[in-house]
């Protein structure tokens, strides 16, 4: 049974048995400073400005069921090294719906403790993975149709990534974000003029905008924007919706002043 997948490679494909997996369920440290307020007693808490790297340790065992001969070791080690190249999504069977992006920073391969050195082929490998920003994201994005009515956008425990294609309607177009209670918390407005068949595209993560024309060209539209970008932040959700994943009416929502939109979202998680 597959228990771990790194990129496309699984422990089963490697012929390895999982021995150890640590920190894959732990959030990284996100320190916050306490800021003094001039002329007043007390402090206020700063936003977290950085996140400590999270190291995940993966220990595997190549047993006699898949590694019988000493001369087979180099190929097995090379295969392991090959599987660890590049930036990889880490998937584990205990959290099948999310992935964590990692890079391998160290691999230690050696004989199994207590086994005779160069007397038996079996090996242990300890793989150290650095989670790039510490968090995880849904394996699968989702697509939401937006209109002038409020549409709830599911959030995880970190702000949700989203890209909006907005077509039709009239300029100025305003994108309104409301919290889980329905209160307006931000309005982003664009004066971009859309030709027939064109869409205004908003990358809510990078805070970039462009107009996608029907001929495939994409002029930048950052200069047409004023106001506040939607955050789709779990702090703006209320109730158990965030926890049980079912009551999404309590999540933050988006609405368009006119026209229709397609919102591609991917929830993100602190763990």
């Amino acid at each position: 049974m597959t228990t771990v997948r790194l990129g496309g490679t699984t422990d089963a494909l490697l012929g390895a048995h999982l021995l150890e997996l640590t920190q894959h369920l732990s959030a990284p440290r996100a320190p916050r400073a306490a800021l003094g307020m001039p002329g007043r007693l007390g402090t206020r808490l700063a936003s977290s400005s950085g996140v400590a790297p999270r190291e995940i340790t993966l220990g595997v065992y190549f047993g006699p069921d898949t590694l019988q001969l000493l001369p087979d070791r180099p190929a097995r080690i090379a295969r392991l090294e090959s599987a660890l190249a590049g930036r990889l999504p880490l998937w584990t069977v205990d959290r099948p719906l999310v992935r964590t992006w990692v890079v391998c920073t160290r691999v230690t391969v050696g004989p199994v403790p207590g086994a005779p050195v160069l007397g038996t082929a079996v090996l242990d490998a300890v793989i150290t993975l650095l989670a790039l920003d510490g968090g995880s994201e849904d394996m699968e994005p989702s697509a939401l149709a937006l209109g002038t009515a409020r549409t709830a956008v599911a959030v995880g425990t970190l702000p949700t990534h989203a890209t909006l294609w907005w077509s039709g309607g009239t300029s100025p177009r305003t994108l309104t974000e409301t919290d889980g209670r329905g209160r307006t918390i931000g309005v982003l407005s664009s004066t971009a003029t859309l030709a027939a068949g064109a869409s205004l595209v908003l990358d809510l993560d990078r805070k970039r905008a462009w107009v996608q024309l029907a001929d495939g060209t994409r002029p930048v539209a950052d200069g047409t924007l004023t106001g506040t970008w939607p955050a789709l932040d779990p702090d703006d959700a209320v109730g158990l919706g965030l926890l049980d994943g079912t009551s999404d009416t309590l999540a933050p929502g988006l609405s368009l002043s006119s026209g229709t939109g397609l919102l591609i979202t991917r929830r993100r998680w602190r763990l």
Partner: protein, 244 residues
């Protein structure tokens, strides 16, 4: 207190060791400025000359404008629905040699349209040396042309009907022999082969990876696709699953 940490997960491009790989769940449509970027880094082009109605989102359906990719949710999975008016392609930097690949899709009726092409490695004119997967109007088939002669591996069983999920895997051996495997709804695959034909020294000038077409205009196909991958060598299904 709001956590201003914004995830940086998509700012560092993935590293794939495939020759060409594109997966809708990666968000290939995002790029820095809307380019359709493959996992392997190719910046593609996409246009559609008409709106596309009744595209399924998670909460309702929508009509995709000409400039909005018809990203569609099916069975909880996100894919890209292509109409015959969609033109989607990426530059192809690949020399002829042993190749294997995968296309994961949902049948939307293309199978019964003769020559409708699900994917191809062909130039704009759909001429010269190339590879493509099309249909006889009864069965899907894999084609390889050295620029003069064409070999075709045509399936003789397995006719996906509209809405069925299809996984194609294929290989081109160094001898030029073809193998096409088709699995419908995760069932055991059916297979077709074609005899060897020496590989050319290069694919046709201007050949591109295309989904849903054989050239810039030729033989468009309607399909919902989710993943396309090409890797060097003749690989088994398990090995193809390992290429990322």
């Amino acid at each position: 207190m709001r956590d201003t940490r914004t995830a940086q997960l998509s700012t560092v491009p993935p590293v794939s060791r495939a020759l060409f790989a594109v997966e809708v769940a990666d968000g290939p449509w995002i790029g820095d400025n809307g380019a359709v970027v493959a996992r392997t880094g190719e910046r593609g082009t996409w246009t559609r000359s008409a709106t596309l109605a009744a595209v399924a989102a998670a909460n309702s359906s929508y009509t995709a404008a000409e400039s909005t990719p018809a990203l569609e949710v099916r069975d909880g999975l996100l894919g890209w629905r292509l109409a015959t008016t969609d033109a989607l392609s990426w530059p192809a930097g690949v020399l002829p040699g042993a190749l294997s690949g995968v296309l994961e899709m949902v049948e939307l009726g293309a199978r019964t349209v003769a020559n409708a092409t699900l994917w191809s490695l062909r130039n704009d004119a759909a001429s010269g040396a190339g590879l493509w997967l099309d249909t006889s109007n009864a069965f899907y088939r894999l084609n390889y042309s050295d620029g003069t002669t064409t070999r075709t591996a045509t399936l003789t069983s397995g006719q996906p009907s509209t809405g069925q999920r299809v996984l194609f895997s294929w290989s081109l051996a160094a001898t030029g022999a073809l193998t096409l495997r088709q699995s419908i709804n995760n069932a055991a695959p059916t297979t077709a082969t074609a005899a060897a034909l020496a590989l050319p020294s290069a694919w046709a000038s201007g050949a591109r990876w295309r989904i849903g077409r054989r050239g810039s205009t030729a033989n468009p196909a309607a399909l919902w696709w989710r993943r396309m991958l090409v890797a060097p060598g003749v690989l088994s299904a398990d090995q193809l699953a390992e290429v990322w």
